[in-house]
Each structure stands twice: as structure tokens, then as C-alpha cells.
Amino acid sequence: MSIESRPPPSLFWPKLRRAVGGRAGWSGLVLQIAFVALLVWIGYEIVANARANLQAQRVASGFGFLDNTAGFAVSQALIPYSESNTYARVFVVGLLNTLIVSVIGIIFATIFGFLVGLGRLSPNWLLSRLSGGYVELVRNLPLLFQILFWYLAVLATLPNPRQSISLFDKFFLSNRGFVIPKPIEQASFGPFVIAIVIAIVASLLLRSYARRQLFDHGRMLKIWPYGLGLLIGLPLIVCLVLGAPVTFEIPALRGFNFAGGSRIIPEFIALTLALSTYTAAFIAEIVRAGVQSVNKGQMEAGSSLGLSRGTVLRLIVVPQAMRVILPPLTNQYLNLTKNSSLAVAIGYPDLFSVFAGTTLSQTGQAIEIIAITMGVYLLISLVTSAVMSYYGWRINRNLGAT
């Protein structure tokens, strides 16, 4: 006996209803429209109200102020900047200062965080207790306190420039910061850079060759001496043939401060130290959780092949742990970037300090400046998480996950 197969009922209308109205159907659609209308109305009211209020108080508005002369100096500028530049340039200077402290902080925090996290899992009793103690101490103290501690501790113990601690009479550490010889490019600088690039590319090729040998023939080649030789040897040959690529301007004490050389200001040092050690404590916990999430059979299997603990971690455990580590790690990177705005407490000229601080109080353009600043922090965060998502996607692909 055969069953008549009926044509399925047209599902178009129910589908549409579900699509636009969710579970509640058509009434859900009405609610959604009403909600959107309410949002639009509130938005309109906010804008209209702000405009009316600003006009009533005769506060100038718009973005024209960005072209005005700033008239104040900034202690650290990565691009040429002087008092006669515009507020727009102040914005760029502040943004670069925020980015440099964030990027360097993230690099240090990642390296240190991984070391501490793996150290905590180490069978070495002392190392694991030390790592654990570090994590517990650092993550339980407020960040602002730690920034002030580093800043005031660094400053209070350092001598003034006239009695600065010097290394070979070329590097000087004082309460004005760390002064180092400033490199000045010479004619052979171009070839020198090219030699380094060639050495890096050659080392990478060597590495992929070694990998192929490992995967295809099971041969483990020791390539690091060759890579190191290339990286040091090639630039060295260029130096010997064409002369030194850079000469150094040696700083000298003149008047109150050092003249010549490059200087890393103590505010930068304190902020980077505080941000990276603080974030490293959180990263260490994330790494620990990630490694522990990998089945311990993986570790045992690696050991039974005769691989050392370090090799097993590097080649087998950490790559699998990265899938768990990556999302919370991204959050820590975002936190570090946003926390850099605490810089204002120690006079480091980051975006929040020079733009949302000084520029705001001089121009009074609160709405415009706060809007720009919020937009910039949002953009930095979105870019960071996009980069990390891409990296995560690549890891998943390499591990063969879908």
C-alpha cells in the first residue's frame, strides 16, 4: 500500500511572519517597528536638544577648531610637533602615543604572560610557586595604584641628570628618563637593511625546507645555527665592505638636561611596565587554562616519543591550546589599550590626556572631542579583534577544524 505524497503546504507566509516578527509573529513585527521608531525619535531629540542648548549658551560647535593653533607643548611626540601646530596634529600625536604604549605593552605582556602561565604549570616547585605568587599579587592590586607605584618608585630612587647612572658613558639613566645614543643614517644604511631582509627570507626558506624534511622523511634538522649565521653574517659583510650603516650621536649633559641622543621619558617607562606586568598576570591565567584544557594524553604521548617537555609544549600542546586562549587573550589586549588612558595620572601625553583633556578644556568642544575619542577607541578595539579573529581562523584551519 502506497501512501499518497501530498505536496507540502506553502510555507511562505508563516516563514515571512517568523522572519520579520520572531516568535511573536506579526505582533512582534509591530513591536519591532515601534521600538525602532522610538530609538529614532530619542536620537532626534538628543541631537535637537544639544543643538538648542549649545546655541542658547553660544558655544561654538563643529569641527573647525581642529585647524586652530594648539599653543601648548607635548613631552613625547613621534612625529615632528611644536606649539604652533594645530589641534588636529595634537590629536595625531596623542593617538600615536597611545598606540606605541599599547603595542609595546601588548608585546611584553604576551611574552611575559606566556612565560608565567607555563611556569605555573612547570613541575619545578619553586618556579610554579613564584609564578603563582606573582599572578595573585599583581592581579589583585588596582592598576592605577600600580602605575603610580612604578612612576613614583622609579622616580624617587633615580638620581638627577647631573648624577645619572651611566653605562660606558653612552647610556644614562636619571629621573628624566633613559638617554641612549641616537642612530644617524649613513650611506650604507639601505644595503644594510636589504641584507637583513635577505637573511630573514633565507632563514624562512630554510625553516620550511626543514619542516618538509620532518613531515616527509621524519628527519629533524638543526637549522638555527645556519639562520643565526645568516642573520649576523650578511649584515656584517655589508658593514665591512661599505662601512657602518649608522653613526651614533652621543648624549652629553648640557645645562639642566642631556643634549643629543634619544630619550625615553620616565612616564612611558612607568606606564609600559605597569600595563604589561598587570596584563601579563591575566594572560598567565588564560594560558594556564588553555594548556590545561588540552587532554593530558597529548603530553604523555609526546613524552613517550622521547620529546622534551619544551618541544611537546611548543609543537603539540600550545597550538591546540591557542583555540581556547585566543578569545580571552583578545579581551586582554583590548583592556590594555583602554587602560592606557590612565596615563593622565602620571603626565604621559596619550590621546586621552592631550586631546580629551587639554584640547577639550581649551576649546570647550566637549561633544565633538568626546565623540572623536570614543570613535577612535572603538576603531582600535575593532581592528584589534579583527586581527585576532583572523589569526584564530588560521589556527582552526591548520588544526583541520571546521
Partner: protein
């Protein structure tokens, strides 16, 4: 600080409280029953809280005088401590009714910030504080020095102008609050601390050995300091302005906290107008006829509050200088009450 700036911007956007505060500040203040007055975060002589939380100082007395004129009670003031960076936003957004916080009167602040300066409580100028051990005798010897300054102040721009005009190099380090600036100066982060001279004397009291630090002779700018209100409320503008003028006029007329009751009985025509026994000058301001005696009973005349807070009768021991009355060699001058 950060939160305050964002909050203020939001309040400015939402505007609900601004609109109410905008037109009728007097009514808002009376309905609230307390005056909200923005002051510094602690500057001895101008506005600082003691260990019991009572605020004193020259700027504080202006707030008390306004409260006395409005409520007949100088204690009805809520003091809102503000950093230099946040002070104007707090006023614009309606968080405070008046800003009495050693703020310099400049054209841009008076116009594009949407504010009105009501007068000058203290004629000041910018100077430099240095360690005596540096053996510097003039600001012109400061080439290549590191300079600590409070961010968002006119000082930050003046120092840039001064070093540029004299062809000197310098490094500026700008901090969010006065306390942070002094700490960094004391820790040796900078050679010089620059600010208004009155403030240098006040902040010097905070370092470990005040005698080891001295103010250089150069005064590099004009810094007229005075109370500020929002644009758009002329009545409130008048009240704050004339409270200050009443204090200066009282000194000129010899009215003091002690003799105010006696003087009020005088039948001199000038005093009768001031005390409201003739005419209704106080009522045209939106206050009561006895507004002047209320103010003087609460804080005394301008000279009295100057002496008590920053002058001879205080720890700061600042000479009256420019702040003497116009008929005694200074430039303090108030329009007549008539």
C-alpha cells in the same frame, strides 16, 4: 576625571538639566535650597577643606557670599572640587551654578566656551618655582629645563609662548591635578614648577621643606582670576557680579564684619542706598533689600577676606600688591552701588 568629562558631555547632550539651569539659575538654586559651587581640589588660601571637611579660602568666601545673598545662610553651599581640565565642562553642563576656582579671564573662555566672567577676585601673574640648590636667579636662565605644569590651564600656553619668545628650549610635563604636579616636581622629575604666583606660594606649603624652594622674580603673564557663570542668564550673572562688587565697595566704604550693624543705621545717602534703607537696589537684582549686610556679615569685606585667607593674617603672607583698592595704589575697583 575621565568619567566626569564623559558624564558632563552626556549631560550636555541630554540637556534636560541644562535647560532648566540655563534660563533661571536663581530659581533653580532656591528650589534646590543649596548653591552648587565649583572650586579647586585643594589650594590653600583659595579653596581647601580642613580635616573636618569645612572649606575655606578666598574663592570659597565668594561662594559663601553668594549663598548669604540668596539664602541669608553662608553654609548653604555644596562645594564641588574640580580639576583645571574639567572645570568649564562642569559649568557648561549645569553641574555647578558658579565656578569660583582661580580661573583666568581670557577672551576665548569668555566667548567660545559659552561662559561669562563676572569680575576679578585676584590679580595674578604666572611665575616659576625652583629649588634654591639649582642656583638659578632668573627665568631667562632656564634654557633646556624640564617644566611641570597642570594640564588645561593658561599656564601651559603661556610657558610655551615665553620660552619661544626668549629662544629657549624646554621640556613640558603636564599633569591632571595640582597635587600630581607638585609630587612630580618634588620627586625631581622637573627643574621648574610653573603656575600663577599665588598658587606657587600655596603649593610650596605642600612640599617637605618649603624654605628650599623659591619663586623667581619674573612674572610672565597677566592672570586675572575671578568667578564664572554660564552664558544666557543675565540675572544670575548680575547677582554673582554684584556680590563681588559689594565686597569691594564695602571695603572702600569702611564697612566691616564687626561694624556692619552700626553702619546700617547710618543716614549717609551712600550708605542708605547700599543697605537698602533707601531705594530697592537689592530687589532689582532679584534679592532682598538687605543683601549687602547679609554678604558682609557672612564673609566680611574684600580686604578682610583677602587678609584672612591669603594676606597678612594667613600662612601664605602674600602682599596685597595690585589687589589693593584703586585709591590705595592698587587696581581693585568696583562700580558704585547706586
Amino acid at each position: 576625571m575621565k568619567r566626569l568629562a564623559i558624564l558632563s558631555a552626556m549631560v550636555l547632550i541630554a540637556g534636560a538639566s541644562t535647560q532648566a539651569a540655563n534660563a533661571q539659575t536663581l530659581k533653580t538654586v532656591k528650589d534646590r535650597g543649596i548653591l552648587s559651587c565649583g572650586v579647586s581640589q585643594g589650594l590653600p588660601g583659595f579653596s581647601s577643606p580642613d580635616d573636618k571637611g569645612n572649606w575655606t579660602g578666598l574663592d570659597v568666601d565668594v561662594c559663601r557670599a553668594i549663598a548669604a545673598a540668596v539664602f541669608n545662610d553662608p553654609t548653604k553651599v555644596k562645594f564641588v572640587p574640580l580639576s583645571a581640565k574639567d572645570r568649564f565642562t562642569a559649568l557648561q553642563s549645569g553641574e555647578i551654578d558658579v565656578l569660583s576656582r582661580n580661573s583666568t579671564w581670557t577672551l576665548s573662555r569668555d566667548t567660545s566656551l559659552g561662559l561669562n566672567y563676572t569680575g576679578v577676585t585676584y590679580y595674578d601673574g604666572q611665575g616659576f618655582l625652583v629649588r634654591k640648590s639649582l642656583k638659578v636667579n632668573s627665568a631667562l636662565e632656564l634654557n633646556s629645563a624640564s617644566v611641570c605644569v597642570q594640564t588645561g590651564t593658561t599656564n601651559e600656553q603661556n610657558v610655551a609662548d615665553y620660552f619661544k619668545a626668549n629662544n629657549m628650549k624646554y621640556e613640558i610635563i603636564a599633569f591632571g591635578t595640582a597635587d600630581e604636579t607638585v609630587k612630580a616636581y618634588e620627586a625631581g622629575r622637573c627643574d621648574v614648577f610653573t603656575s600663577d604666583v599665588s598658587q606657587l606660594y600655596a603649593e610650596r606649603l605642600k612640599v617637605a621643606n618649603p624654605a628650599d624652594h623659591g619663586v623667581l622674580p619674573e612674572v610672565i603673564s597677566k592672570e586675572p582670576l575671578g568667578p564664572v557663570v554660564r552664558h544666557g542668564d543675565d540675572q544670575w550673572f548680575d547677582i554673582v557680579k554684584w556680590t563681588l562688587f559689594a565686597m569691594v565697595n564695602a571695603e572702600e566704604l569702611g564697612i566691616t564684619q564687626k561694624n556692619v550693624d552700626e553702619m546700617a543705621k547710618s543716614d549717609k545717602p551712600e550708605l542708605k542706598r547700599v543697605f537698602g534703607t533707601d531705594g530697592n537696589l537689592g530687589e532689582t537684582l532679584g534679592l532682598t533689600k538687605d543683601w549687602v549686610s547679609r554678604i558682609i556679615k557672612a564673609v566680611g569685606n574684600y580686604g578682610e577676606t583677602f587678609d584672612r585667607n591669603v594676606g597678612a593674617g594667613s600662612k601664605l603672607q602674600i602682599a596685597r600688591g595690585l589687589n589693593k583698592l584703586w585709591n590705595q595704589g592698587g587696581i581693585q575697583y568696583a562700580p558704585p552701588i547706586r
